[in-house]
């Protein structure tokens, strides 16, 4: 190895392996949100290395775990009506990154964020080119959506929620570049539950003039309990 040559940039592999910590990890996770190509690279590394799982030795699991699982109560029930329509790999990566980012950015210790207080969604672009993570802190109403340039110049990307009544309700405008952050009022927060569809449509600047989506839907995904 040439001592003077700079190291190649292997950040995606390093993140997939779990080598990074602290600020380096936080920076890499932010990059997953902001840069779909980088997010894909991380996922490719996960798949490239998956063959190594073969080499972990099997160890008989204790009976106690099976017994505990057999007593799953209704509080552990999965969200109803979930049917994935997005590439799972992209979704898992996106959600993991979003959760990690959230923990990293918050001053409070991670333990303070109870898992059921987080709702997440992976908004799959209609052309399947990428998945954009979205996350809501149900306690504070803070919502974050990963960066993606969805709207062409002169247009804006608007986020909608579609509940059981099938009527889209506006949630807010997405930033034209970089991640978006918004705070949902209590009444919108109350309407959020697992299985609700989130969608992004392209609208005139300032948002849909009608209160309903008027332009094409460019991304959508279901909300899940994190």
């Amino acid at each position: 190895m040439t001592p003077d040559a700079p190291d190649p940039d292997m950040t995606a592999a390093e993140l997939a392996l779990g080598l990074l910590d602290g600020e380096e990890r936080a920076t890499a996770l932010r990059r997953v949100l902001a840069d779909p190509a980088f997010a894909r690279e991380v996922e490719e590394w996960r798949q490239r290395l998956a063959g190594l799982f073969d080499d972990y030795a099997e160890v008989p699991a204790p009976e106690s775990v099976a017994a505990r699982l057999a007593q799953l109560d209704s509080s552990a029930a999965p969200a109803p009506g979930r049917r994935a329509r997005w590439p799972i790999a992209a979704m898992v990566t996106a959600i993991a990154a979003m959760l990690a980012l959230f923990v990293v950015l918050r001053p409070a210790p991670p333990a303070a964020v109870a898992p059921h207080h987080l709702m997440v969604a992976s908004l799959m672009m209609s052309d399947k080119s990428a998945a954009v993570p979205a996350m809501v802190d149900m306690t504070t109403g803070e919502m974050r959506v990963g960066g993606a340039a969805m709207a062409p110049a002169g247009k804006t990307a608007q986020l909608w929620m579609i509940g059981g009544d099938g009527v889209p309700k506006p949630m807010g405008m997405l930033a034209s570049a970089g991640p978006s952050r918004m705070v949902l009022p209590m009444e919108k927060r109350r309407a959020l539950k697992a299985g609700i569809m989130l969608a992004v449509s392209i609208e005139p600047l300032g948002g849909s003039p009608t209160g309903l989506p008027t332009g094409p839907v460019v991304a959508s995904g279901k909300l899940l309990i994190a």
Binding site: F53, D55, Y56, A61
Partner: protein, 189 residues
């Protein structure tokens, strides 16, 4: 439990159990558990390094599987890789949330080897796994060892450098060059 010996049949069975789990079939979750718990417990034990923690993490892993199975898409990822990734990530989360890990891995962890797979395990590797292993074998010993340790033990750069007793910068160089070479080999094959 090491049943179905035919890898394709084993994969089909697990996929089917996982899809049924996604449809909220509790019996199917038990099937997934029966088919995979030894592998996932091996992962948790290896990374956590202690049995009681590994048991808790394993329980948590199957609860996560129960909640997320509906999002598993057959054909996108192999079912066992999907499950193993959850186990590895959960175990790493546990270790990092706790802080330092035991300075000397306990006996059980040492027992969970990552070397000398028996012939049957080698035979069960699919094509992608074989290619990865061939490419790892082609790396120089230090890079191969660094990548394998990072994967199996879920350690950070800092921990890895300490274990291998090399400066952090050197560790990163070995790893990055090794990963670059590995990617070239795997993707070209």
């Amino acid at each position: 439990m090491r049943q179905p010996t035919d890898p394709a049949a084993a994969r089909a069975r697990l996929t089917e159990a996982l899809v049924r789990t996604g449809q909220e079939d509790r019996a199917a979750l038990q099937d997934v558990y029966r088919l995979t718990s030894a592998k996932l417990f091996g992962i948790c034990l290896r990374i956590c390094g202690e049995r009681s923690a590994a048991e808790d993490v394993l329980h948590d892993v199957y609860l996560t599987i129960w909640k997320r199975a509906g999002a598993y898409e057959p054909g996108r990822a192999s079912p066992i890789s999907w499950l193993a990734t959850i186990a590895r990530n959960r175990a790493i989360d546990w270790v990092r949330a706790r802080g330092a890990r035991p300075s000397h891995p306990i006996e059980e962890a040492a027992m969970v080897a990552d070397t000398s797979p028996d012939q049957r395990e080698v035979a069960e590797r699919d094509e992608e796994s074989r290619r990865l292993h061939d490419c790892l074998d082609a790396l120089d010993a230090r890079a191969r060892d660094a990548i394998r340790t990072a994967f199996f033990d879920g350690v950070t750069y800092a921990e890895l450098a300490e274990r291998k007793n090399v400066p952090l910068g050197t560790m990163k160089s070995i790893m990055r060059r090794g990963l670059l070479q590995l990617r070239g080999c795997v993707d070209d094959a």
